[in-house]
Symmetry: D2
Subunit: 311 residues, 4 copies
Amino acid sequence: MPLTPEQKAEIEAQRKLQYTTRRATVSAIEEILYQPFDVLDNGFIRVIDYMGDDSAIVQAARVSYGRGTKRTRDDQGLINYLMRNAHTSPFEMCAIKLHVKLPIFVARQWIRHRMANVNEYSARYSVLDNEFYMPPIEQLSAQSSVNKQGRESSLDTNRAEQILDLLKSDASRSFDHYFQMLNRNQEGEEIVPGETALARELARIGLPLSTYTQWYWKIDLHNLLHFVRLRADSHAQWEIQEYARIMLNILNLWVPLVTKAFINYRMGGAHLSEEGLSIVRALIAGEKIDSENLEMSPREWRELKNLLHLD
Amino acid sequence: MPLTPEQKAEIEAQRKLQYTTRRATVSAIEEILYQPFDVLDNGFIRVIDYMGDDSAIVQAARVSYGRGTKRTRDDQGLINYLMRNAHTSPFEMCAIKLHVKLPIFVARQWIRHRMANVNEYSARYSVLDNEFYMPPIEQLSAQSSVNKQGRESSLDTNRAEQILDLLKSDASRSFDHYFQMLNRNQEGEEIVPGETALARELARIGLPLSTYTQWYWKIDLHNLLHFVRLRADSHAQWEIQEYARIMLNILNLWVPLVTKAFINYRMGGAHLSEEGLSIVRALIAGEKIDSENLEMSPREWRELKNLLHLD
Amino acid sequence: MPLTPEQKAEIEAQRKLQYTTRRATVSAIEEILYQPFDVLDNGFIRVIDYMGDDSAIVQAARVSYGRGTKRTRDDQGLINYLMRNAHTSPFEMCAIKLHVKLPIFVARQWIRHRMANVNEYSARYSVLDNEFYMPPIEQLSAQSSVNKQGRESSLDTNRAEQILDLLKSDASRSFDHYFQMLNRNQEGEEIVPGETALARELARIGLPLSTYTQWYWKIDLHNLLHFVRLRADSHAQWEIQEYARIMLNILNLWVPLVTKAFINYRMGGAHLSEEGLSIVRALIAGEKIDSENLEMSPREWRELKNLLHLD
Amino acid sequence: MPLTPEQKAEIEAQRKLQYTTRRATVSAIEEILYQPFDVLDNGFIRVIDYMGDDSAIVQAARVSYGRGTKRTRDDQGLINYLMRNAHTSPFEMCAIKLHVKLPIFVARQWIRHRMANVNEYSARYSVLDNEFYMPPIEQLSAQSSVNKQGRESSLDTNRAEQILDLLKSDASRSFDHYFQMLNRNQEGEEIVPGETALARELARIGLPLSTYTQWYWKIDLHNLLHFVRLRADSHAQWEIQEYARIMLNILNLWVPLVTKAFINYRMGGAHLSEEGLSIVRALIAGEKIDSENLEMSPREWRELKNLLHLD
């Protein structure tokens, strides 16, 4: 369960408060402010704050004194131009702050994006909730034989259930022992009267990587797009993809013109190497490619054919 | 003249627009949003946007679900604690976006703060205004003989006026030539019909370092405090101090609890070395210091005595 | 066991290779290059490469053409000056690259230092070794009642042994199950013939936070000093302190003049707040402090008294 | 003249010193260590230090214990894979330190690359040399009418000479006045006995943007490649391209396998948008493109046709 009734009430209380502002404001994002988007079995993403909108990018690009043009078409044109030519500074002028609940193994991939600000819930300072991630059974997939860091088809049901049992019983047992070491139950009550509690920073070291943590995370729009491009990609681990897909939805509510350009120029586009480009030119000119004489590896050639819808 | 009537009108038009938001909002900063604070003879700082407030720091520090406590006293206590113990992450959760007009030699010092986002007016793309910085006459000071990178007392009036004349006539001439090379006057009209204009990116290389530029600049609160501490310091060049002092005023409007803690723990505080600390302990214990036998340099010892209000 | 015989042989083979270079070279660090310094029960730090030395800082500070002065005393003076006045750029001109093996819960604290380069062993791509961290029994300490994120005195032996048993049996069982899910034993052989292996990226989510990981980590000297100051501090978790202390030893071999200045101005020094400074001045002047009327919290006052060796 | 005889002697003295090291060493770069590569009329780039080589990237990617494979073919394959899939971390494990002399307007573009370390010669602390950049006459080009931030064909000789005269006489006069304000000539002697010298930090504000400055600059390989890709590009200002081209030569001496991959996958490659990609697929399938019905702008379509060598 991602949120307790008390947490939901806190969120609702905050959502009721409204203020007047002169700042760039986006009604579609105001609509969902503070509300959790569920991710995985116990995780979520909540938008806590945001700075700027599509027009703010245009305004920054022009170093202008006022809001300037309000014609959406002109703004889209300039945003396309900036995205296409990798003029990234204006996109850095927008920022978003999220509250995210996520398994630790996802958090470890996430934190590799250094150009962001993060404040994580401290398991040295506070006791963790008894919450860990269990993959949906259809996600229990075999190791890919092609891609050394990927998944293949789902396991058969028996094998999958056996594995889920192992994961679940191990995680449950670790959490039971965690609370024993702290000498408190999940309600915060002492278990054995007078028994000494182990320091929290030590008790947590036996918990599994599937344990949920949470953090406040702030990032500028340029770096968020970079995050989404890498983490919504099919080569990323499925669990972090789930978060990246929610972010793409949030992007579309917040900065729809940027999101449109981002999908065209980044997500849906592709990078050709010098050799790939000369192959494309040859193909367009109607020439045959002799794949024996390519510099590129067989894998790269296979990927290029896929990209170009050949064979 | 920092702003043209057209620019002032654009700002006023933007200030008239008001929106409803659920975001953390600070009325004192809304009051001054978009308005220029004059700095030096032709520069300014304008607040374009901001994210967060004092409470947002508390909320991030607790990774909380709602706004939490509204008691100012508790918030001040936690903020003091965070500032004192250099727990910087929660301060990174607030950000501010400024529009700044500043001389290029100041911009060159400013940009050394890398943990910020900047989009500068491009003199490759656009023509610069005929505006350069002339120091106020009382700021025309002699080279300090003690501090190799500082100023001393003001020059006598004759020498100062002679220098101002040199600076002013050189800058004026350079701007005249800049417009000649572009073959346009300041109103944008051609000077010599049909004469070819030199590329803007080349024409500007003869302009002086006192030329004004401008940029949009976004920075998180932690890094802004670092900027202000270094640049409002008496060792910084006076011209950038003028900008830093305005920022300190803006900080006080925006995050008064943070600003109070910042002044107590950073601006007004001091760092003692290990040897300095042992001297302080000895002095408190009533011992005499034999300055001959100190490890520290005479300059360091002089500075320590100043700090402690000794003799 | 931190290293296998094969790994030791690889290290020895690399240590045998020697080259001629014109670069700044430090014989004391060459002496220990590639060799592991043991940390905790299974971890280590190895120096893989370094750039610069004490003189390189002086050279960078002067933007000089040659090596300049070779007089250690002058270099120490300039380095002291730079450290004391927080002129950090010259220290950024040196860098070090380490190979570190460390428990995941330590890695999660470590990675918060963003101004570094890291390449971690991927448990999506490769199988992890059966190695987890078990605290030495005297480190199994009670939760501190004063410091919400710290330890107090050691637990009594019975309680400590009971806890070690829980940690050890849980970790062992998780690793057994990890290999079952991968259908391979620690020698890499199939366990059940023909059984499908779960994807590595999923199998690892049940492993404990005490599991060892490893990475290559490169950082400039300025940011390394910052790391050591924070992580060798008594408020850091003991396990990361152990790594930081090894780094301090490495620093002393690599850049002894910088390390001396660092210990005097950073590690051994202290920061006083504005109020703290005025208290110090009053104490030196022989005045009495009325602690009832201080702005600072009782905890801050207690810490100040400790710092100044009062009562 | 980029270097004085004294500076050349200092460099030669340093080049004579040789040491023994166990670090990764590249003989082609040792060969040119400390020697200036001339750039523009008075600038240069000197390699001061470097960390790592092609193999160090492979080693970091594998988090390995020794140097591992020495087969160049395997290394090239892995480096290609890393470059192609934007696995950037291993490239961050190499670094280079340069001493660069460059005009201030170039320095202002350069410094926008924030992921680097820089220590600049301080004109607050020291007196600048009388050296400014004068473009070669064939580079005095007209403002491009197509590209708002570019150059077109060269100016006719008369106009070009007239402009050079303006730039040269203004710069010379500004430097004369600079020395007058400091009351010292270029040899460092007093001009008017007893006249007060203006503070250096003020005297320099009248100097032109063409004035040469210099700095030590350190950057990791990943970020250096990014720099070169942006700054050796034909859209960059010609003057900074000149520096980027020298860097590409240095890269080729230092990390030839990386440079080969970089040229194939980055410099010589191209990025297609989603729409561009579907056009390419249609062209390969022999379809006609109706440019009237494209989403993309006419300019983007023109650039795509150029890229694909269409008509």
